[in-house]
């Protein structure tokens, strides 16, 4: 009987042109486009420079800021007050004020104070922008400083800590994001497909017709799960292929982990979709419920913000988020090439979610009211 149910499901999927399009468009959007738009690297910070010194030294500093690559000079203003207007209007993000007598005091070997004022409405942009700017100013001071300063700089370079970034040597944001985005892709696709598929049968009334047949509910659910599992694995391979072709991110030796974890996680995501569908009567309700849970899961899975920096109670909540384990496993598999054995804890959690959610799905699927 399963064979006939599956035959029917596949026929419906193949005929659904919208679905086939989604299966290609979604991986392209999430894996190819998203890593660029979700980048938290701050570039093109607009700096407004207030040069009260008008010396060669102050001009060199301005040039250095401009040449650093992170900044674009929004303009030169005569006073700090004028520059602040630029921030209020949004034409500048940061004001750099170089004090009068900047060159002279440098000549005397002092460290003159420059003022950096950043617009922190967008906290990340303001914070990182001012950090970058301070770094540029510090570098300028080191290069141009007197001989003593140069000696100090040399000493510092000799004694300072040498930072080595493991697993992602260039701190490339994409290397970090793409594995997580593959997790988003699979969650979205499998959860939505399952939820909408079953609610679709409810809306069309066909579920009634199935319910009066002798088809047991477990079989009906299995017939829904299996095609979605195949679609999930297919979109995973699309995702992995795009990540490699577009961003040059290959999974190292982590491929077995990636396949294994995805195989389990798709069951979790589909079961979630099924549970959602069992509690909604219309597509609208299902969509709303799904968005609620997906957004919650995405925000607490550690993809955009590290779980460790969340408050204690929030961290506890994230342990109930299956996406958290999957995102972590995908990252470790991608960046470190971790084997399934090294990720046993994550695998156990995901396996547990798969069992519990699927049991819930079968139990809440009511054949008679």
């Amino acid at each position: 009987m399963l064979k006939y149910l599956l035959e029917k499901e596949f026929k419906q999927i193949v005929r659904n042109t919208f679905l086939s399009k989604m299966m290609v468009i979604l991986p392209i959007m999430t894996i190819v486009v998203f890593p660029y738009v979700t980048s938290q690297e701050v570039t093109d910070v607009k700096v407004c420079i207030v040069d009260n010194d008008h010396s060669q030294a102050s001009q060199r500093l301005a040039q250095k800021v401009e040449a650093s690559g992170c900044f674009s000079v929004a303009g030169y203003e005569p006073t700090y007050g004028e520059a602040m207007k630029g921030i209020e209007e949004g034409s500048a993000d940061i004001v750099l004020e170089i004090p009068r007598g900047f060159a002279k005091s440098r000549g005397r070997g002092e460290e003159p104070q420059v003022t950096v004022a950043a617009n922190s409405v967008n906290g990340v942009r303001g914070g990182l922008g001012s950090q970058y700017l301070s770094a540029v100013i510090a570098a300028f001071a080191a290069e141009e400083g007197g001989s003593e300063a140069r000696a100090a700089q040399g000493m510092a370079a000799g004694a300072g800590p040498a930072t080595l970034y493991r697993y992602n040597p260039t701190l490339d944001y994409k290397v970090f994001m793409v594995p997580g985005l593959i997790a988003v892709l699979i969650t979205l696709l499998c959860c939505a497909l399952t939820a909408l598929n079953i609610v679709g049968e409810k809306e069309a009334g066909t579920i009634e017709q199935i319910n009066v047949t002798p088809v047991p509910k477990s079989l009906f659910i299995l017939a829904k799960l299996m095609p979605n599992w195949a679609i999930g694995m297919l979109s995973l391979s699309f995702g992995v292929a795009f990540a490699w072709a577009v961003h040059g991110i290959s999974p190292l030796q982590g491929l077995p982990s990636i396949v294994l974890f995805s195989a389990v996680y798709i069951l979790v995501a589909s079961a979630m979709g099924m549970v959602i569908s069992n509690y909604s009567d219309t597509m609208q309700q299902a969509m709303f419920l799904m968005f609620f849970f997906l957004i919650l899961m995405m925000l607490t899975c550690g993809l955009f913000t590290p779980i460790e920096s969340m408050p204690e109670w929030a961290q506890k909540i994230t342990t109930l988020n299956p996406m958290r384990y999957f995102t972590r496993a995908m990252r470790l598999a991608y960046l470190r090439g971790s084997s399934p054995a090294e990720l046993a804890r994550e695998l156990m959690w995901l396996g547990g979610f798969a069992v519990v959610l699927n049991a819930w799905a079968v139990a809440s699927y009511k054949k008679s009211n």
Binding site: K8, K11, Q12, A204, G205, E208, Q209, V212, P214, S368
Partner: protein
């Protein structure tokens, strides 16, 4: 084996505070074509859903083919063919695929029971490659009936199969039901159309979840207690108000292009004639007419109030 195929015993079902079916009892004989006649909201669909094991009754019990619809729901599903009021086959599967699918999930094949659906299916066969969602209303109902029949059920539950179907298709559909009845299949069919009632072996009139009466269509009509008159005049619109305001008329309601009127005791048709003439009605025509099931329904539902 009892001689009753479907037994409904004091079934009640409410949705929150709304009573859908209240303490309803009836029984349908083996091989009978039994009609449940009632307006929208009478509780017909609820009754069908309970019999089709899709819903649990609040109280009472029901059996189909001797099997309890709650305790033996699985076995019941094997012997019934249910056709819900709403078209509910897969719109993206073709006519052929739908039929095959429903045959296979019941563990049978189209070939095995082809003879049962042959008459109906032959009419939709030219469109067998067409997605079911793209069929016309009448065709959809024929396909739905085919799908409900393909596993050779003992009992057919048809919930308003002809609602929204054109008159020609309705006639054809009922011709098929009569043929199936002759094959020995018990058919329980609901309809809001009173004219279809006369085609049933027996009918039950329901309103607001309660039974108004059960009998053969002839029996129901034969029990009509008084003479019934069809009244017409040149100004039908004003006639309605004037009939309602006339104490000599016990009841009056519109029926096609006339009004069906019963007279209060002691009022003769001639009295009505002169009353209407006095009110200025022209071309007044009063004829005695044979009561129909609809007249009986109106009378019974009036009594109920």
């Amino acid at each position: 084996m009892s001689r009753h195929s479907v037994v409904v015993d004091h079934i009640a079902k409410s949705y929150g505070r709304v009573k859908a079916v209240g303490n309803l009892s009836l029984d349908v004989g083996r091989g009978e074509l039994f009609g449940i006649i009632g307006p929208d909201g009478a509780g017909k669909t609820t009754l069908f859903r309970i019999l089709a094991t899709l819903m649990l009754p609040d109280s009472g019990r029901a059996t189909v083919g001797g099997l309890d619809v709650v305790a033996d729901y699985r076995a019941v599903r094997g012997i019934i063919g249910y056709m819900p009021g709403r078209f509910s086959l897969y719109p993206d599967l073709t006519v052929e695929e739908n039929l095959e699918f429903f045959a296979t999930v019941f563990g049978t094949t189209v070939e095995a029971n082809r003879h049962l659906v042959d008459d109906i299916y032959r009419q939709i066969e030219p469109f067998r490659k067409r997605p079911a969602g793209k069929l016309s209303g009448g065709m959809k109902q024929k396909l739905a009936l085919s799908c409900a029949l393909i596993h050779k059920p003992e009992v057919l539950l048809l919930d308003e199969p002809t609602t929204g179907v054109d008159p020609v298709s309705r006639k054809e559909f009922w011709a098929m039901l009569l043929k199936l009845r002759n094959e020995g299949i018990t058919i329980l069919v609901s309809t809001p159309y009173m004219d279809e009632a006369t085609l049933c072996d027996r009918i039950a009139l329901v309103k607001d979840g309660s039974l108004l009466g059960t009998d053969t269509p002839g029996g129901i009509v034969g029990r009509y207690p008084t003479a019934l008159y069809a009244v017409r005049s040149a100004d039908m619109h004003r006639l309605m108000a004037d009939l309602a305001g006339y104490t000599g008329a016990a009841s009056a309601f519109s029926f096609g292009d006339t009004f069906h009127v019963t007279l209060a005791p002691g009022t003769a048709p001639a009295d009505l004639q002169s009353h209407l003439a006095a009110l200025g009605h022209k071309a007044v025509c009063i004829e005695q007419t044979a009561p129909t099931v609809e007249d009986c329904f109106m009378l019974l539902s009036k009594k109920e109030e």
